[in-house]
């Protein structure tokens, strides 16, 4: 056996079923035994960035480790963006890269890039294997590290001669994963605070999804009657149809969710990290709230906002413990009356464009209604992403897969490809922007060839819409370099790649075209939704301002201008 075969056997042994990648010189030895593997499906992507995001999509759709593979040098550096993306969104991803042979490492050999050093700040850990006998246990360790604790990307760099050299096979040890032990005193304190709070909020982040703790969250929420907000990474962790759900907080959150956090006397943060897109100006964030902060990563606790009660632990353990110790909450009648008032006065909404063009928000809400909550939705980054977070109703954890921390344009199509590989029985819809789509649409060729029937709804506003929105609001409507023009023809482009290409530009056509796409099962479908260019994402908390200054439309600041809630 050589190192390459040991690698493939090790991947099989740890349960890897799908690898996304592209071969090349240094990783070539690994592709030879991979050719014979009956257990591993290799998906040949068109760009390594696609392979990396596909691994992330797969990981989020399955809850298992996503794997991508690339050759040395440019293959490896093309993985940098997906690794940074997976790092910021805490996704279990293992990247396997070829490297030049050991004797020439450090000589600027052909296609040599020091990928370990390049990725140090964006990987949880990395290995460069120098002894072929180490391959099985390094792979096992990499998988365990990627998936345990706070998940994250792990890089395994394999010099070509190590792959080619004889290797001894040792069965990788099954991983021993210890979850941090919860501090019972902290749990008691949290339960006490919950019992006494008059204005509590559950601030739910992606950690609840990663931990598979959504059912326990539902139990705690119903036991206590406490309002729930779900961040961009946690959409679906609590059902949108649930009356206690106030929606998404943050820069483009609902007025009720933003106000709830702002006016709370107790914030219970569950697997969330007080990101600036949620808190707005930290100095002005939730001034009266005590904070219970539960996270598996102690480094997140008190990083941005001091926690009064730190709870280091897996969200499953935290929620189980809270369910066991919380009796009933206090009387939240006044609190709910205030929040319900906000919900009724400031629901999410949108205006139809005056020029008669299609409202992008309408398109996205119709997709959500027709396709339903059993599907998986992915998105790119921009206005369409925020509308996908606001206007699709999510009922299941992990049903919205998007790039939260890094905000990576081009995420939607490859992530959808990865998701459908992991969840072939679910419909997968990518809600993409015309700008984002032009960064990674080549993976549609991969999807067509591999029989991966994803649906892509391109929200084609002819612009880098989110940037244009900022130019409109903060740069005097000077639209510098944000118009994308009207080419290419996305429907024709889709057809050229072996997909079905459709187009819709009017309100009555929306339902029909979505149904037409849903009926196609053997090929990917792209729908070019030609929408108005001037629609904006509201509400909005402008970057750096306080959440109190949330605007429901240009210049309209409901929490500043009125006294609502001042007497709460």
């Amino acid at each position: 056996m050589n190192g390459a075969l040991a690698l493939i056997k090790a991947l099989e042994a740890v349960g890897c079923e799908t690898v996304f990648g592209i071969p090349g010189g240094a990783i070539l030895p690994a592709y030879d035994p991979l050719f014979d593997s009956a257990k591993i499906r290799h998906v040949l992507t068109r760009h390594e960035q696609g392979a990396g995001h596909a691994a992330s999509g797969y990981a989020q759709a399955t809850g298992r480790v996503g794997v991508c593979m690339a050759t040395s040098g440019p293959g490896a550096t093309n993985l940098v963006t997906p690794l940074a993306d997976a790092y910021l969104d805490s996704l279990p991803v293992v990247a396997i890269t070829g490297q030049v042979a050991r004797p020439v490492i450090g000589t600027d050999a052909f296609q040599e890039a020091d990928i370990r050093s390049i990725t140090l700040p964006i990987t949880k850990h990395s290995y460069q294997v120098t002894d072929p006998d180490d391959i099985p246990h390094v792979i096992a360790e990499a998988f365990t590290l990627a998936a345990s604790g706070r998940p994250g990307p792990v890089l395994v760099d394999l010099p070509k001669d190590v792959l080619a050299a004889p290797a001894a096979w040792t069965e990788p040890e099954p991983p021993v994963v210890v979850r941090p032990r919860l501090d019972p005193a902290g749990v008691r304190q949290a339960a006490d605070l919950l019992a006494r709070a008059e204005r509590p909020v559950f601030y739910v982040g992606g950690g609840v999804v990663r931990a598979g703790a959504a059912a326990l969250l539902l139990e705690l929420a119903e036991r206590t009657g406490v309002p729930v907000v779900t961040t961009l990474m946690a959409r679906g962790a609590f059902p949108d149809s649930h009356p206690q759900h106030l929606g998404m907080p943050g820069m483009h959150g609902t007025v009720a969710a933003v106000a709830a956090m702002q006016k709370a006397d107790l914030l219970v943060a569950l697997g969330a990290r007080f990101d600036d897109r949620v808190t707005g100006s930290l100095a002005r964030f939730a001034p009266e709230a005590l904070v219970v902060h539960a996270d598996i990563d102690p480094a997140e606790i008190s990083k941005n906002r001091r926690a009064d009660v730190p709870l280091v632990g897996d969200c499953r353990d935290v929620l189980r413990a809270l369910n066991a110790s919380v009796t009933t909450g206090g009387d939240l009648g006044a609190w709910w009356a205030y929040l319900d008032g906000l919900r009724t006065t400031f629901p999410l909404g949108y205006d139809w464009p005056e020029d008669g063009s299609l409202a992008p928000q309408y398109v996205i809400s119709r997709i959500g209604e027709l396709v339903g909550p059993e599907a998986i939705y992915t998105s790119g980054v921009g206005q369409h992403q925020m509308w996908a977070a606001q206007f699709v109703r999510y009922e299941r954890p992990g049903s919205f897969i998007n790039s939260g921390g890094l905000g990576t344009m081009g995420f939607a199509v490859p992530a959808a490809m990865g998701a459908v590989c992991g969840a072939p029985d679910r419909q997968v819809w990518a809600i993409d922007g015309d700008g984002c789509f032009q960064m990674t649409n080549q993976e549609l060729a991969t999807c067509a060839l591999e029989g991966l029937p994803i649906k892509v709804a391109v929200i084609n506003n002819g612009n880098l819409g989110m940037v244009r929105q900022w130019q409109n609001l903060f740069y005097g409507s000077r639209y510098s370099q944000t118009s994308l023009g009207s080419t290419p023809d996305f429907a024709l482009l889709a057809e050229a790649m072996g997909c079905v290409g459709l187009r819709c530009s009017s309100r009555p056509g929306v339902d029909d075209v979505v149904r037409e796409a849903m009926a196609v099962r053997d090929r990917p479908v792209v729908i070019d939704f030609v929408v108005g260019a001037d629609a904006q994402v509201w509400p909005m908390v402008a970057a750096g301002t306080g959440n109190d200054e949330i605007m429901t439309a240009r210049g309209l600041r409901p929490l500043c201008d009125s006294d609502t809630g001042e007497d709460l």
Partner: protein, 76 residues
């Protein structure tokens, strides 16, 4: 100024990961010295660092503990 004392496994990349973490988190390194530790396969890294205003050394210690090849860290 804070003194940190770290015990690292002698694995390739361990020192680099710690140093990059300082740079990523905008921690200024005033002095740094790496020496073999008493135990086999371990090194002792003594560092003096300056933190940005408002950042806590506890937080830095937690971030250092995420480094897989770090065995121990203490701050004085």
């Amino acid at each position: 100024m804070h003194r940190l004392s770290l015990l690292l496994r002698n694995k390739p990349g361990a020192l680099a990961r710690v140093v990059v973490l300082f740079s990523t988190r905008d921690v200024a390194v005033e002095s740094l010295s790496l020496n073999p530790a008493d135990a086999d396969g371990l090194s002792r890294l003594d560092v003096q660092v300056r933190l940005r205003e408002g950042r806590s050394v506890d937080q830095l210690v937690h971030q250092l503990r995420r480094v897989v090849d770090l065995c121990e860290v203490s701050a004085a």
